[in-house]
C-alpha cells in the first residue's frame, strides 16, 4: 500500500520531471528542486492554516483572559493547562499547528528518500525495483541510469566537502540552519516565559534542526536538497504574510523586547 500510494507516484513524478528537463548532468538535482516546489504548492493550504494558527497564537498572548489565567493559576499547572485548553477550544486554535506541517512532511520525506534511492539505482537490485515502479507511459529505457551528479554532490550519497583532509558536511549545516531559521521565524512572541506552548515551540527550534541535520548527515544528499528548498520556501511563504518575526533570529533580541522582562 505504501509502495502504491507514496513511493510509486513520487518516483514516477521525479523521473518524469527529470525526463522533461532533458536528463543530463545536474538535472536530477533540478528535478528534486522542482519536485519540492510542487509539493509545497500542493501543501500550500496546510501551510497557510499553520500560518494562521501561529498568528492566532501570537494574538492570544495579548488576550486579557489569557493573561489573567496565567497569573491566576501560576502555581496550579494542572488547572492552568485545563484553562488554556478551554480557551484554545473556544477560540478554535490548535496549539500544535506550528508543528503539524513538519510532522506531515515525514511521510513525504520517507517516500522521497525511497524514491531517490530507487531512481538512482546504485545496485542491480535497486534497478530491478525501479523497473517495477515505473508507469508504462514513462520512457524509462532512455533515461536510466540517472545522472546523480548535482553541483559538487552525488545525490545518492551523503554529502561532504573535503577541506584540509576533513569532510565538512556543508548541506547538513545548511539544512540545520534553514530549519532553525524557519522554526524561529514562525515562533510566536510570548509575554509569558512559562507559556508551555511557547516553550514546546522553543524546544522544537532546537531539536528539529538537530534531527534534520542528522538525517542530512546520514542519508542521500538528494534529501538535503529537498530539506533546504522546502525550508526556504516555507520561510518565503511565512514572510509573505508580513508576520515573520525576524528579531527571533538575533540571539537575545526577543528576550529584550519581551514585555515580561521589562
Amino acid at each position: 500500500m505504501w509502495e502504491l500510494i507514496i513511493v510509486q507516484p513520487l518516483t514516477n513524478l521525479l523521473l518524469w520531471i527529470y525526463d522533461v528537463l532533458g536528463h543530463g548532468p545536474h538535472m536530477f538535482g533540478l528535478a528534486i528542486i522542482l519536485f519540492t516546489v510542487l509539493i509545497k504548492l500542493v501543501t500550500w493550504p496546510l501551510n497557510a492554516s499553520q500560518v494562521k494558527g501561529a498568528q492566532a497564537m501570537q494574538e492570544l498572548q495579548n488576550d486579557k483572559e489569557w493573561q489573567d489565567i496565567q497569573k491566576k493559576y501560576a502555581k496550579d499547572r494542572e488547572k492552568l493547562a485545563q484553562e488554556q485548553m478551554r480557551i484554545y477550544r473556544e477560540k478554535g486554535i490548535n496549539p500544535f499547528a506550528s508543528c503539524l506541517p513538519t510532522l506531515i512532511q515525514f511521510p513525504i520525506i520517507i517516500g522521497l528518500y525511497q524514491s531517490i534511492i530507487r531512481a538512482l539505482s546504485v545496485t542491480p537490485l535497486d534497478m530491478l525495483k525501479l523497473a517495477r515502479t515505473v508507469y508504462p507511459f514513462q520512457n524509462v529505457e532512455n533515461i536510466i541510469p540517472l545522472n546523480s551528479t548535482f553541483l559538487w554532490m552525488d545525490l545518492g550519497r551523503p554529502e561532504s566537502i573535503q577541506i584540509l583532509g576533513f569532510g565538512l558536511p556543508t548541506l547538513a549545516v545548511i539544512v540545520a540552519l534553514t530549519t532553525w531559521m524557519q522554526t524561529k521565524l514562525t515562533m510566536p512572541a510570548t509575554s509569558n516565559p512559562n507559556d508551555q506552548t511557547a516553550q514546546m515551540t522553543r524546544m522544537m527550534s532546537i531539536y528539529m534542526p538537530l534531527m534534520l541535520g542528522w538525517f542530512s548527515l546520514t542519508f542521500a544528499s538528494g534529501i538535503s536538497v529537498y530539506f533546504i528548498i522546502s525550508n526556504i520556501l516555507g520561510i518565503v511563504q511565512y514572510a509573505a504574510t508580513g508576520r515573520a518575526n525576524w528579531r527571533n533570529l538575533i540571539p537575545g533580541a526577543s528576550k529584550q523586547t519581551s514585555p515580561a522582562k521589562k
Binding site: M211, F215, F219
Partner: protein, 357 residues
C-alpha cells in the same frame, strides 16, 4: 517543564528512529555473487564471502572475521589461474581484494583502493592482467599483485558487468547504453556501439563475434571490427548475458520469456515460453538441459525443445546466475532460508548451505 522537554525530546528521537527504520534496507543492498571450481563454491552475500565444499555443502572458510558495514560484497568472485580469488567491495569502502581460495586469507600486501565507485562487476583476468570495471565508469588495469599497470581507462557510465574476451579484444557493456571494444595491447577503445539501452549484464562471446542484450530489449551481434546488427528481440528488458551454445543463443527477459534463437536461420526455436516470473540471471546450458532461475524463486530445467524437465523452488528469489561444479548445479537464492543449494541433473537436491553463525 523538564518532563515535557524530555518527553518532546524522546518523541523526536523515536520519530527519527522510525524514519530511519522506514527508509528500509541499507544504502547498498544486492543479491549474492557466486562462482565455483571443482572443490569449492564461493558466495558473496553482503558483509561476508563464504567458501563452501561442493562435495557436502560445508563451510570451508568465511571472510572477513567480523562484519564491517564499510565493506559489502555482491559481485561474482573471480578465480585466477595463479590461485587467487578476486572481488571488490560495493560498500562505502571501495577496496578491491585478493583472497587465497583455499584459506580465505588476504593475498595482496594491501587492497587496491584507487577506484572512486563501488564494485558491482566482476573483473576479467586476461594475459596475467586484471581488468576491473567499476561503477565510477573506469576500467582499472592491475597486475596480479594488485598494482595498477596503466592509467584507468575511461569507459563512461557505471560498469556493472564483467568484461569478456575472445582472446584478442576485450568487450564490455556499460549502463551508458553502449558496448565497448578494447584492444588490450594498446589499451585503446574502438568507437562505442549504441545498444539502445542500459546494459547491466555481460556480453557473450560467440564464434565470430559477441552477443549483447540490453534494456532496449534487443540482442545485438557485434563483430570484432565493430559491425553490428540487431539479430533478435525480447518483449522486455534483457538483463543477463545471453548463453551461447554451438548454433543456438539462449536469453531471457524481465517479463519471464525464455528465448532460443537458431543462429543459422535467425529464427526462434520455440514460439512462446514463459515458465515463471522475471529472469535476471543468465541461462546456464549443461549437456542437453538449459537451467533457468527466476525472480519468483523457481529453478527450472528445460530440454532443447523448451519443455520443462523439472522445476524446483528452493525458496526466496533467484537473481544470481547458477554455476556448474562437477556434476552439480549451484543456485544462490536471495532472502531464502539458506544461501546456496546444489542440484544434480535430475533435479535432486544434493545439499544446502547456511552460513555458520
Amino acid at each position: 517543564m523538564k518532563t515535557k522537554k524530555l518527553t518532546l525530546f524522546f518523541l523526536l528521537i523515536i520519530g527519527a528512529l522510525l524514519i530511519s527504520a522506514c527508509t528500509g534496507q541499507p544504502l547498498t543492498n544486492n543479491f549474492p555473487g557466486l562462482t565455483a571450481d571443482a572443490e569449492r563454491a564461493y558466495i558473496s552475500t553482503g558483509s561476508f564471502i563464504y567458501a563452501v565444499d561442493v562435495q557436502n555443502g560445508r563451510q570451508v572458510w568465511s571472510y572477513p572475521e567480523s562484519a564491517d558495514n564499510e565493506f559489502l560484497y555482491f559481485a561474482n568472485p573471480v578465480l585466477t589461474e595463479d590461485g587467487q580469488l578476486l572481488i571488490g567491495s560495493a560498500g562505502t569502502n571501495h577496496a578491491f581484494i585478493s583472497l587465497d581460495p583455499a584459506t580465505g586469507n588476504e593475498k595482496w600486501a594491501e587492497p587496491f583502493s584507487g577506484a572512486k565507485g563501488a564494485w558491482v562487476a566482476s573483473p576479467l583476468v586476461f594475459n596475467d592482467t586484471i581488468y576491473a570495471p567499476n561503477t565510477d565508469g573506469y576500467l582499472y588495469v592491475l597486475d596480479l599483485n594488485g598494482n595498477q599497470v596503466s592509467t584507468p581507462i575511461e569507459i563512461g557510465g557505471a560498469l556493472w558487468s564483467a568484461p569478456v574476451t575472445d582472446g584478442t579484444y576485450i568487450y564490455l557493456n556499460s549502463l551508458d547504453h553502449h558496448f565497448h571494444i578494447l584492444n588490450p595491447n594498446t589499451n585503446q577503445l574502438a568507437d562505442p556501439i549504441d545498444l539502445g539501452g542500459a546494459a547491466p549484464g555481460s556480453p557473450t562471446v560467440g564464434n565470430d563475434g559477441v552477443y549483447a542484450g540490453s534494456f532496449s530489449s534487443d540482442v545485438k551481434f557485434i563483430a570484432p571490427n565493430g559491425r553490428n546488427d540487431v539479430i533478435a528481440s525480447a518483449s522486455d528488458w534483457i538483463w543477463g548475458a545471453p548463453a551461447f551454445d554451438n548454433e543456438t543463443l539462449y536469453y531471457a527477459d524481465l517479463s519471464g520469456n525464455i528465448f532460443s534463437l537458431d543462429l543459422k536461420t535467425n529464427r526462434q526455436n520455440w514460439d512462446s515460453l514463459q515458465p515463471d516470473g522475471p529472469v535476471t540471471a543468465s541461462l546456464l546450458v549443461v549437456g542437453d538441459q538449459i537451467y533457468v532461475a527466476t525472480e519468483a524463486g523457481s529453478f527450472i530445467a528445460l530440454d532443447r525443445d523448451g519443455k520443462i524437465v523439472w522445476e524446483k523452488t528452493p525458496g526466496g528469489k533467484i537473481y544470481t546466475t547458477p554455476v556448474l561444479s562437477n556434476d552439480l548445479i549451484l543456485v544462490a537464492p536471495y532472502q531464502a532460508e539458506f544461501a546456496l543449494a546444489a542440484y544434480d541433473a535430475d533435479g535432486k537436491q544434493a545439499w544446502t548451505f547456511t552460513p555458520n553463525k
